[in-house]
C-alpha cells in the first residue's frame, strides 16, 4: 500500500533559503546599526563644531538614503522568509495523518 511521503529535498531547499535569508537580514541590520550611529555622530559633530553645516548637510541625506534602502531590504527579506515559512507550514499539515 502506497502512502504520500514527505518531500525531503523540497523541504531542505526551503530551509536553506530561510537560513540564507536570516543571515542576510542580520547583515542588513548590522549595517543599519552602523548607519544610525554615523547619523548620531554627524549630528554630534555639528553641535560640537567639529564639522560645518555644509559637511553635515552633505553627509546626512546619503546616510538616510542608505538607511531607507536597508530598511526596505530587511522588510522584503522578512516577507520572503514568511512566505517560505507559510509553505513549510502547509507541507507539515499536509503530511499529518
Amino acid at each position: 500500500m502506497a502512502i504520500q511521503k514527505i518531500n525531503t529535498n523540497e523541504i531542505e531547499n526551503i530551509l536553506k533559503n530561510i537560513d540564507e535569508k536570516s543571515i542576510q537580514i542580520k547583515m542588513f541590520q548590522e549595517s543599519l546599526e552602523r548607519i544610525n550611529e554615523n547619523l548620531k555622530f554627524n549630528e554630534k559633530d555639528l553641535k560640537l563644531g567639529k564639522i560645518s553645516m555644509e559637511v553635515f548637510k552633505d553627509i546626512k541625506p546619503n546616510l538616510e538614503k542608505e538607511k531607507n534602502g536597508l530598511e526596505l531590504q530587511i522588510g522584503k527579506t522578512k516577507e520572503e522568509i514568511k512566505t517560505a515559512l507559510s509553505k513549510l507550514n502547509g507541507i507539515m499539515k499536509e503530511n499529518k495523518i
Binding site: M1, A2, I3, K5, I6, T8, I11, E12, L15, I18, D19, S22, I23, I25, K26, Q29, E30, E33, K78, I81, K82, L85, L88, N89, M92, K93, N95, K96, I97
Partner: protein, 134 residues
C-alpha cells in the same frame, strides 16, 4: 536584531524531524502492506483465523503508533516554524503600565486622604490640649 543562529538551530531540528518522518512513513507503508497481505492470506485460506486476528491486531496497533509518532514530529515542526515566525516578526514592545499598578496608586491616594481626614477630625474634636489647660 534578528537571531540568525537561533533560526538556523530551528531549521536544523526541522530537517532532522523531517528525515525521521520519512523513515516512519516508510515503516507505516510496510505495516499497511502487512495488514493487506495478512487479509489476503486469510481469505485464501493460507493462515488460520486466530493467526489472522493476532497479526491484524498487532499490525494495526503498530500502524497507529507510527501515525502517532509521525503526527507528533510534524506538530513539533509546526511549533518550530511558529518560533521562527516570531523571531522574524519580533518587534520591541513599549512598556505598558499595568492597570493593577494604577489601581494600587489610586487605593494609596484614597487611604492617604482618609487617614489625613481622620487626623484632622480627631484634632478638631478634642481641640488643642494646650488650650484646654489654659
Amino acid at each position: 536584531m534578528i537571531n540568525s543562529e537561533q533560526i538556523q538551530a530551528y531549521t536544523k531540528k526541522i530537517y532532522e524531524n523531517v528525515l525521521d518522518v520519512k523513515i516512519l512513513q516508510e515503516e507505516l507503508e510496510d505495516m499497511l502492506s502487512a495488514i493487506d497481505i495478512n487479509s489476503i492470506e486469510y481469505n485464501n485460506g493460507k493462515i488460520a483465523k486466530e493467526t489472522f486476528e493476532v497479526n491484524n491486531k498487532k499490525f494495526r496497533k503498530e500502524s497507529l503508533d507510527l501515525i502517532d509518532k509521525i503526527n507528533k514530529l510534524l506538530e513539533i515542526n509546526l511549533s518550530f516554524i511558529s518560533s521562527i515566525t516570531n523571531h522574524v516578526t519580533y518587534k520591541k514592545r513599549k512598556k505598558v503600565k499595568h492597570k493593577s499598578d494604577n489601581q494600587k496608586n489610586k487605593i494609596k491616594t484614597i487611604v492617604n486622604e482618609l487617614t489625613y481626614n481622620k487626623r484632622k477630625k480627631g484634632k478638631s474634636k478634642h481641640g488643642n490640649p494646650k488650650n484646654k489647660h489654659k
